[in-house]
């Protein structure tokens, strides 16, 4: 059982007693490791001086973290509602990019190269690189610009190579039985060829969001 002791609804911050294990500060981004332990005295300071509210009894107990986080996250828009016209922009995170200093941009490029591309997260990589390449801060810095262009080419070629591999699989109907004998025996080569063609068309194995 989680007891909500104090909440700052506009930010989704909360002080929470978790079983007998003391008070934790919960705040976005909500991750397993982000709920740090704080002192008992923090609750009175947060409420008396920092604008946290004591929740009403109907919102003070939650059976698990998922339920609590849903409550905190779901209340932010309403708490800010009248003050932020049109609500929170969906692209609030992406909008930060134009303010990113060079060291942050360099770190993003490193992560594109070392995380996104090897993991095959090409859409993520492509989206980020295309947005970076229209920034003045990137266009005006040959080091950043060249690296971004190079990575974008790499993303395109790896995407194409992957698509070609799937395409080859789709076309080589007669070889499917040799490459996947058990699957062919179970489903037939025509079905497997159709699946390969579908994967090639959508660029990913699973049809997320469709």
């Amino acid at each position: 059982m989680l007891e909500l002791l104090a909440i700052a609804p506009e930010d989704g911050w909360a002080l929470v007693r978790s079983g007998g294990r003391g008070v934790r500060l919960v705040r976005p981004p909500y991750t397993k490791n982000s709920a740090a332990f704080v002192s008992e005295d923090s609750v009175s300071v947060a409420v008396s001086k920092h604008g946290f509210l004591v929740p009403g009894p109907e919102h003070s107990r939650f059976s698990n973290w998922r339920e609590l986080v849903a409550y905190l996250d779901g209340g932010i828009g309403a708490a800010r509602g009248t003050q932020v016209s049109g609500g929170l922009p969906d692209d609030a995170g992406e909008q930060l990019l134009e303010f990113a200093p060079p060291d942050v941009l360099r770190e993003f490029l490193r992560r594109v190269e070392e995380e996104l591309i090897p993991e095959g997260r090409w859409d993520h990589a492509e989206n980020l690189l295309l947005k970076m390449l229209v920034l003045d801060s990137v266009c005006g810095d040959p080091g950043l610009r060249d690296k971004a262009v190079k990575l974008l080419k790499r993303v395109s070629s790896e995407k194409e190579a992957k698509a070609a591999a799937w395409s080859g699989l789709a076309m080589e109907g007669n070889d499917i039985g040799k490459r996947f004998p058990r699957a062919t025996e179970e489903y037939g080569s025509e079905t497997i060829g159709r699946i390969a063609q579908a994967v090639q068309n959508r660029g990913m194995v699973f049809a997320f969001g469709s």
Partner: protein, 278 residues
């Protein structure tokens, strides 16, 4: 009962702090005089009043230049909702109502008090806000009033039933001119730590010298916003992730407020300074 002037109490305590400091230096065993002097110098040179703000409060302050204390916020809510201020205050404060109201009612201008901390270079008590707004060295100006208290006012000097221990509080107050002395007396036993650790020692989540003040706060009174590197990096992580997936409302709100702060930095309204984590 006549109301007490907190700032006059602090002024009255200046001589007592000097006496206690001299007694400390002459004590047995005396603390390292070099450390004591260097710590006092650090506080005199780098000591600023600072306020930690949550992202929403920080963005509002940057956008509007307004920083509301509890009573101001309740007054605004009452005007908007038509509900009585006292009812709203009770609702907000719950079981802490008595402590807050008793403390405010003990002092002249108690409802106007604003609360910060004495900070010599840390990102402040981050449990209450990622963004640490540091006031300029020129604070306090003529007309501002400020007093420093050895510990948190409500947790250190007010009982749960609302009784304020004005005797202890009086002994632990310092005027601006003696803030270094108060800090040195408080930490005289801790000064053998590395000097680089002094900012975190003086001001952490759980322990700080509180600054209580009455002043008009506006953006022009702020010299910089400090943020811990780990918090700064987690804010940029939002930007990175946002290009690959949809953010939750909490993440969007955080990104939205961070953008406001960054925009103020770009427009040279306020400087953002990233500090390595203590």
């Amino acid at each position: 009962m006549p109301l007490v002037d907190l700032f006059d109490l602090a002024d009255e305590n200046a001589r007592r702090l000097d006496d206690r400091f001299r007694a400390l230096e002459a004590g047995s065993p005396p603390p390292d005089p070099g450390d004591l002097r260097r710590f006092e110098e650090a506080v005199t040179k780098h000591g600023r009043v600072a306020l930690n703000m949550r992202p929403w409060i920080a963005a509002e302050f940057v956008r509007t230049g307004k920083y509301l204390n509890m009573n101001d916020a309740v007054r605004e809510d009452a005007a908007l909702s038509g509900r009585p201020e006292n009812e709203l205050l009770r609702e907000r404060l719950g079981r802490f109502y008595q402590k807050r109201v008793s403390f405010d009612a003990t002092f002249d201008d108690g409802c106007r008090f604003q609360y910060g901390v004495l900070n010599i270079g840390s990102a402040g008590p981050r449990s209450y806000g990622l963004f640490c707004f540091v006031l300029k060295k020129t604070f306090p100006k003529a007309g501002d009033r400020v007093a420093y208290l050895k510990r948190d006012s409500l947790n250190g000097y007010v009982a749960d039933d609302g009784r304020v221990d004005t005797g202890s509080l009086h002994g632990d107050l310092a005027p601006h001119s003696h803030r270094h002395r108060l800090a040195a007396l408080k930490h005289s036993d801790d000064l053998d730590t590395r000097r680089a650790d002094w900012p975190a020692m003086l001001c952490s989540d759980d322990d700080y010298v509180e600054a209580i003040f009455v002043a008009d706060l506006g953006k022009t009174r702020v010299s910089e916003i400090r943020i811990a590197r780990s918090d700064y990096e987690s804010l940029w992580e939002l930007c990175f992730r946002a290009h690959g997936r949809r953010l939750s409302d909490g993440e969007k709100a955080l990104a939205f407020d961070f953008r406001v702060v960054l925009e103020a930095g770009r427009n040279r309204v306020i400087t953002l300074k990233v500090l390595d984590d203590a």
